[in-house]
Each structure stands twice: as C-alpha cells, then as structure tokens.
Symmetry: C2
Subunit: 191 residues, 2 copies
DNA sequence: CGAGGCCTTGACCGCGGTCAATGCCCGTGG
DNA sequence: CCACGGGCATTGACCGCGGTCAAGGCCTCG
C-alpha cells in the first residue's frame, strides 16, 4: 500500500472504493518536502494547501507582541493545515516544521470543489474535520478543567511523543503555563 | 418560509435545491418544546438527538465534583447538541434550557445514514460541523490569548445577548474566571 | 414579610508569572 | 582536542493577579 492510499485509508475504507473514486481523490495530492524551520502557513496569510505528514513533525502557533502560544503539534500520518484558510479566511496561526519532513500536499480549492459533486470526497473531508473538532473539544476540556499538573501527566500518558520530540519551551504554552512552571512541575514528578 | 426551510437555509441555499432534496432532509426533523430547566442531553449518556432552537435559550456545561464549567450558550437559530454523541460516544457535557423553548428535533442516526448516499445531506452536516469548529477555534484562541478583561469586553461587543440573557454565574466559568472576578471586572468598567 | 437566588464587595493568601542567574549539552572553529 | 557560544532547561527570589471564603445588598416571588 503506497503513501497516498494509506492517507486516504485513514478516513475512508479504501477497500470499499472503486479505483475511479480513489483516483479522483489522489488527483489533488502531490509530494513535497520541507526543511526544519520551514513555515508553509503564516498568520494573516491565505494559503491554498494543507499537508499530510509522511515523515516528520510540525507545530502550529499564534503570536502577538513577541509572545507565542502553541496550539498543536503534528507527526507522522497527521495533517498540517489552517482551518481558517480552508474556510477562505486569513490564517490565525503559523505552522513550522520541527524536523526535515516529507509530506503529501493537498489542494484545498480543488478538493472542496470536488466535494460538491463527489460524495466520497465530501465524506473524506468531513471525517478530517470531525477528527480535528474532536481534538479541539478534548483540548478545550483539558484547558478549562485540569490543573497544570494534570494536563502534563495526561500528555505523559497519552501523547508521550510530544515530550520526546517537542522542545519544552513550545510545550509549555500548549499546556497553558510558562516554561518555568512546566520545568518545576517536571522536577516534582522526578522525585 | 417556514421554520424547517429557514433552518436548512442557514446551511444550504434552499433556492438551489429541488423539492425532493428538501423533503429528504425534513424527514429527519420534528418539533419539540422544552421547559426552563430541562436537560435533554446529559454528561456520560448517549442520545440520538440534536435540537435547533426556534425560540429559546440553552447552555452546555460539564461538571466534576460539584464544579460546573459552561462551554457554550445557544439562542434562536442555533443548535443544541453533543458532538461526542454525534460521534457515537457518551456526552462529556450536559445541556440545559434556560428558558421555555421551541425546537426542531433532529435524528442524528437517521441523518448520518442518509449522508452516506445523499450529497446534499452530507454537505448540510459538514457545514454545521464547520460552523461549530470555527466556534471552538475562536473560543480556544480567546482563552489562551486574552486576559479576563479582554474576554469580557469581546463578549460585550460581539455577543451582547449573552450578558442580557445568561446569569453571570454561568458566564463567569465560560470566560474562565470566578463569579467574583467577573463581578469586580464589571465594576471597573462601570466607572 | 420572609426566603432564596443572584450579584457585589471585602479580606486574605497562595499559585504561578516575570525576571534573572546558572547549568547543561552540543556543534563549530581555532 | 579544547574553548567558546548558543539554545534550551532549571532554579531561585519576588510579587501581583485572581481564587476562596464570608458577609452583605438587592431583587422577585410565594
């Protein structure tokens, strides 16, 4: 199974699709690479593309007055995109690759147009959005309901990859605390 | 234009749909009324229905150890639902009507099944989810990036209805602060 | 008129933020 | 091979915002 069908298969059961439908989808995909530090999506800009990570890692953040707040991190088999861009608006966030990465590039305009007539494409997009919505709800829940410590241990148990691959400086604002507080909190755990 | 088509029209251009398609959608709708205090959706339960408010108001909150955190408020022409229920999971939230209300009841199971074959229904649902996702992103942004005062004045300017129709006790946790802090903050503005 | 709901106000204090210094690891160049 | 510098994490000192607890005011409704 190649990378393209693997990607599609995350959201649709490719076994149930005929070849024509799969081809329709892959039409809007191509391959791209990024270097560590590349920022394909930038705050206040419009972009037409989203990216699926085959190999690599990225973060998303918004910034105001030299203050950055990280909103999510993406790794293999996850999507890097601006939902605002998808909705035809300027992005609120900037995305930056944390490692050299290989990606599938997705043409948002074309795929959205295709969704108007193709129910397979329509469902494909809906599933992606639903996954993101679920992530947002979960995140919102934790931010409102958990103490800092609890938020960290949640990550520790459920997304250990974050701690291994993401600098703590970025992780801190993602968890809604200062870098120093995160550091102290880790010290307490290490006892 | 009746209430049903008005509802559909919020997400699709009914003028562009033929009668058969509209009928397909309205199949899954019916009318229901609620009394102030009714809670049709409850934390940890599965429910098959969502509600569109024709007239009335509702809130959604999650609770833990006698502590409640309000997550959203809905008024006329907005939807009361649990996204987790829609995804086949137990609801994380409870929804409660704040006023006697008239609603359109939506059968989630049936409409989801219909979406598999009807592209119109599929798009209808996608639009609803997209609207909700946009709301979540906006809310997350404010919670992470704004001070309490700024969050309140944002509401004041963009959603004044909240302040008029929702008890401040509920609004406080929605804004991520204690009732007392919200009260002091209002006092400062009133100077 | 009394009770209860809701909002406000006051006093206190602790969590976590800021600022600043130090430690540690690693890549680079002399 | 060692020395230096930069990036990142840690630790300490300080302090203020906002939370908690408690009391008081002000409605509405029975």
């Amino acid at each position: 199974m190649n990378e393209l069908t693997q990607f599609i298969n995350r959201y649709l059961h490719t076994a149930q699709l005929d070849e024509r439908e799969i081809n329709t989808l892959t039409n809007y995909f191509s391959f791209t690479n990024f270097k560590k530090g590349d920022r394909p999506i930038r705050q206040t800009y419009h972009h037409d593309f989203a990216y699926y990570i085959i190999q690599g890692a990225a973060r998303s953040y918004y910034s105001k007055d030299h203050l950055e707040v990280n909103t999510w991190f993406a790794f293999e088999q996850e999507i890097v995109a601006s939902f605002q861009n998808y909705r035809g608006k300027a992005s609120m966030e900037t995305t930056e690759f944390l490692e050299d990465s290989q990606c599938i590039k997705i043409d948002l305009h074309k795929i959205a147009k295709q969704a108007e007539t193709s129910n397979v494409t329509n469902t494909f997009m809906r599933r992606i959005i639903e996954e993101y919505t679920e992530f947002l709800e979960e995140r919102l829940y934790r931010l409102q309901f958990s103490e800092g410590m609890e938020r960290y241990t949640y990550i520790l148990q459920n997304e250990p990859e974050l701690i291994q691959r993401v600098p703590l400086t970025f992780l801190a604002s993602y968890l809604g605390m200062s870098r120093e507080t995160l550091s102290r909190l880790r010290a307490r755990i290490a006892l």
